[in-house]
């Protein structure tokens, strides 16, 4: 049980790099494109000023 708690704590501390709900809105079968250096072609910023990160990305079919 203690191990489970540790794992859960680690998961939440490390956290996803972007809110899962935003990333999850990508159209089915699409992923964020990577540039020549392998960096994701995406901008994460609070565009509407509500304190939450928004997303702007170049997406492509497949992985």
């Amino acid at each position: 049980m203690k191990m489970l708690h540790t794992l859960l704590a680690l998961f939440f501390l490390s956290g996803p790099s972007f809110p899962a709900s935003a990333q999850g809105t990508l159209p089915a079968g699409y992923t964020v494109q990577q540039d020549q250096d392998g960096k994701k072609n995406e901008i994460r910023a609070d565009f509407n000023g509500d304190g939450k990160q928004d997303l702007f990305a170049i997406i492509q079919k497949g992985s």
Binding site: P19, S21, A22, Q23, G24, T25, L26, P27, Y30, Q33, D35, Q36, N41, E42, I43, A45, F47, N48, G49, D50, K52, Q53, D54, L55, F56, A57, I58, I59, Q60
Partner: protein, 140 residues
């Protein structure tokens, strides 16, 4: 290839995108400065960028600018630059003419400023339609 945005709201994230770009080999780099996003496309014989700005009133991204630099055809006919302000409809161009079949303009550079009545305010979801509209202007 598509451009995509997810904007947070009281009911979760709202996604904004457009249909597939069938003829355009777009896009390979993205930059942000405040509410402005610049998307770059680099082809074999051209560089292009598309400028979007987040509009807090409509909660979407307006397509506000198009810039292109191309090397024209094999003899550089049509090489030059185009810059279109998608809000005002102002098109500033600098084109080099090298068409031997057109001796009146061969070897000349043309600078022009054209003014268009914009059919609408294009947004992120209209991107393919906007590019089609632009194609008709830069090939005139």
């Amino acid at each position: 290839m598509r451009l995509f945005a997810a904007i947070s709201g009281p009911k979760g994230y709202r996604s904004i995108t457009h249909g597939d770009l069938e003829y355009l080999d777009c896009c390979n780099r993205i930059e942000q400065k405040g509410a402005v996003i610049k998307v770059y496309s680099n082809g074999m014989r051209y560089f292009e960028n598309y400028t979007f700005r987040y509009n807090k009133t409509t909660s979407t991204f307006d397509f506000i600018g198009y810039d292109n630099e191309s090397f024209g055809n094999a003899v550089n006919d049509g090489a030059g630059t185009h810059s279109i302000n998608m809000l005002t409809g102002t098109h500033i161009g600098h084109i080099y003419h090298a068409d031997r079949n057109n001796p009146e303009t061969e070897g000349q550079a043309e600078d022009f400023t054209r003014k268009y009545k914009m059919p609408k305010r294009f947004t992120l979801s209209d991107f393919p339609a906007a590019m089609k509209w632009i194609e008709g202007k830069v090939t005139q």
